[in-house]
């Protein structure tokens, strides 16, 4: 069993990796790279050399190519100063050097030299994935900023709440492992994922921060800083990062250079928003579909069963968009808002319709399967025997049939999570809910490649692991089921 879990986990990782690489390659090679500037306001305002320089800097940042300026190229010349002063021989020398390395060397309108090297598909992948996992280390400050700190290394200390924490001097984050009151209570800053920067929306921000940070207004409260001063501030001191140059306000608050903190926001992040809605909707799905499926199987061919079948058929075939707008219209009639931003984050009425719709959308398949399994079990010998023993109809249903029929249903829980994700794309878009589901089509429309890759990674990981979890869950519910096949079978 342990071996099976290990192999299965490896396979899951491979399939996530495959999907993300295929998507990355498609995005980087199939979409004309100049298209990404279509939605960029800054690009439109620029002209001439400034535009060229901007384009190549951005493309370099996004991982399409390697961009070198004249000063960088001249570093390889035999006479650096002459090269920087546009000496013809030296220019020809470095041009030849760089062209041999596969660079395209060109001159700007003002005569300065520049070059770029288009990464090959496999280099794009390598560059992307080699940067994905970032491990914080005590030499971070030295390697990144060239600043030598004293006493670098890990140490145990007390954080601002006087709770013990593993801290580090010389790393990017001050607090490496710490505890606080928010789920899951123990947090780490040692390993971070880096999926690149968001562009053109929220330019310069890490994609994970865009979906992981809170939204809405900043949430300020009184914070006592290390220096003993108290300010009204939204900062989360646990996220303190190294900052090279401190301003006046920073030195009033902090004793050291770890002064770059994330903020608390009033509204939940996109990730939390989608999770919250997804989990409640799954509870609704199971709460409605399983009793309905059981009822249908008990009243087979009677009115309840027929109504249920009509409901299943309609929901199976109707375009999900039509269903969403139909439900939204019903919501409008009873006074619920037509879109999320109308009442905002802090009104429960904003959440009712999107969650209900998400929940209802995955009921038909679950109802069909519940009914099917219940009917299959009802015809089996042990049920006939139980009836012959004189057990009441209710006892047979609850104690014999239900327990056996529930096994395959448990395996379906993860599938409904996947369904829930696909449903979230359209439900969140229709209601303008600020969650991950709406973010995907939005970032596709804005050609925000790094964001698309990030979301693909998250959704794929979520569904791969949930299918895995479903299989494991099934072995827990029914010990007879074994995922590993024994020899000789």
């Amino acid at each position: 069993m342990k071996r099976y879990i290990l192999v299965r986990l490896l396979k899951s990782i491979v399939s996530i990796f495959l999907v993300v690489s295929i998507v990355t390659l498609m995005l980087f090679t199939l979409i004309p790279r100049m298209n990404i500037f279509e939605k960029d306001g800054a690009y439109k305002k620029l002209n001439g050399d400034a535009k060229t320089s901007y384009v190549y800097t951005k493309l370099d940042e996004l991982g399409y190519l390697d961009f070198v300026r004249q000063s960088e190229m001249c570093a390889l010349a035999s006479d650096v100063t002459a090269c920087n002063n546009n000496d013809a021989d030296q220019i020809a020398e470095v041009t030849k050097l760089y062209e041999e390395k596969g660079y395209n060397v060109k001159t700007m309108l003002n005569g300065t030299l520049y070059g770029y090297y288009d990464y090959k598909p496999f280099e794009i992948l390598w560059n992307y994935f080699s940067k994905v996992i970032v491990v914080d280390n005590p030499d971070f400050v030295k390697n990144t900023y060239g600043v030598e700190l004293e006493n670098t290394g890990y140490y145990f200390g007390l954080d601002y709440n006087n709770i013990p924490a593993l801290m580090c001097n010389g790393s990017q984050y001050k607090y490496q492992i710490y505890f606080d009151a928010s789920f899951p209570f123990i947090h780490q800053n040692i390993i971070h994922f880096n999926f690149g920067k968001s562009y053109p929306t929220k330019a310069g921000m890490n994609t994970l921060d865009v979906i992981g940070f809170g939204q809405g207004e900043l949430k300020s409260k009184d914070v006592t800083f290390e220096t003993g001063q108290t300010f009204k501030s939204p900062v989360n001191l646990h996220t303190a990062k190294y900052k090279v140059s401190l301003d006046g306000l920073d030195s009033k608050k902090f004793n050291d250079n770890y002064a770059d903190c994330d903020s608390y926001y009033q509204a939940p992040s996109m990730v939390n928003m989608s999770y919250l809605m997804g989990i409640i909707s799954i509870i609704i799905t199971y709460g409605l579909a399983i009793p309905a499926g059981i009822l249908m199987s008990r009243k087979k061919d009677k009115l309840a069963d027929k109504i249920g079948l009509v409901y299943i058929n309609i929901l199976n075939s109707i375009p999900s968009l039509a269903f969403i707008f139909f439900m939204r219209q019903i919501g409008l009639m009873i006074g619920l808002p037509a879109s999320f931003p109308q009442l905002g984050y802090f009104d429960i009425r904003s959440y009712i319709m999107p969650i209900l719709i998400l929940g209802l959308m995955s009921t038909p398949s679950l109802m069909t399967w519940t009914r099917r399994y219940m009917l299959d079990q009802a015809n089996s010998d042990y049920v006939k025997f139980a009836k012959a023993k004189g057990l009441s109809e209710k006892e047979v249903f609850n104690k014999h049939i239900l327990k056996n029929a529930i096994i395959p249903i448990v395996n379906g829980i993860p599938a409904s999570i996947i369904l829930c994700i696909s449903g979230a794309f359209i439900t969140e878009s229709a209601f303008s809910v600020p969650g991950m589901g709406k973010m995907l089509p939005d970032s596709i429309k804005l050609l925000n490649n790094n964001m698309v890759i990030t979301l693909v990674f998250i959704f794929t990981t979520l569904s791969v692991l949930s299918v895995f979890a479903g299989d494991l869950l099934m072995t827990v519910v029914d010990p007879r089921i074994q995922l590993t096949s024994k020899k000789g079978e």
Binding site: N316, P319, I426, S429, F459
Partner: protein, 306 residues
Amino acid sequence: MEDNRFTFVQVDDSLSEHIAAPKYSYWGSVFRKFFSSKVAIAMLVISGFVVLMSIVQPMFSNYDPMIAPNVNNHSMWFIGPSLEYLFGTDNIGNSLFDAVWSGTRNSLFISIVATIITTTIGTIVGLFWGFSKRFDAIMIEIYNIIANIPTTLIAMIMVYALGGGIWQLIFAVCVTSWVGTAYFIRVQVMIIRDREYNMASRCLGTPITKIVFNNVLPYLISVIMTSVSRDVPAFISYEVFLSYLGVGLGYGKASLGKLISNYSPYMTSSPYLFWIPLSISAILSVSLYIVGQKLADASDPKTHMN
């Protein structure tokens, strides 16, 4: 009693050769079973009407979303449904009636072509998948990878990367969905591949290809029909979904999803613009689905006996 009221009967040898069983024709029974259901007939009429309209009407209207003769003529904008303009006119003065049928034609085309491709590839691969153990080992890994990924996600990325044409959209939705059909067929094949008549066939030296196409495939007709009846509405829904999110068909092409997406800003001011295309998509999907389900039921020989 007079003897002339009786005649001698000749003994007819050929009659004893005749088997006294009711005449059975497979397709005859399928149609008899199908048309015995009133719901099936009603849905067939509705879906037939919508399909016919979407084929015939665009031939006369020659609707093109890029041509807007009344774009500057304000009096032609937002005319509600009337006798002259059955479905009214839209925000640029084009007739919604023309737009809807032309859009329906494209949506139907996408969904039917995608269903044909998915079903053909899925069935052929599924048949061999169910038979060959070696092929099964490879395919099950591929299935595990693809089945774990939300297919909508892949379709969105594909359309995004390939561009918003009709054929690109068809490719994007087919690329992952054939695996589902193949898996479905595989399970059915595995159930019947070891039945006695197939074992007998194999013992007699019939090649696998012949067993697959002559022995197994006919048995699968109702299963394939079930899968088709699910696929057609699913692909219509898919197109509507992707185009509504703005990641489906590109500019200059009408489809139900594009219409719904284009007209959604006028949902409160001119509700008919939004609700008519949406209702057509719903009516089409539901009726085609039910027709397909009934046809699948009717094509199962087990239902022919009563």
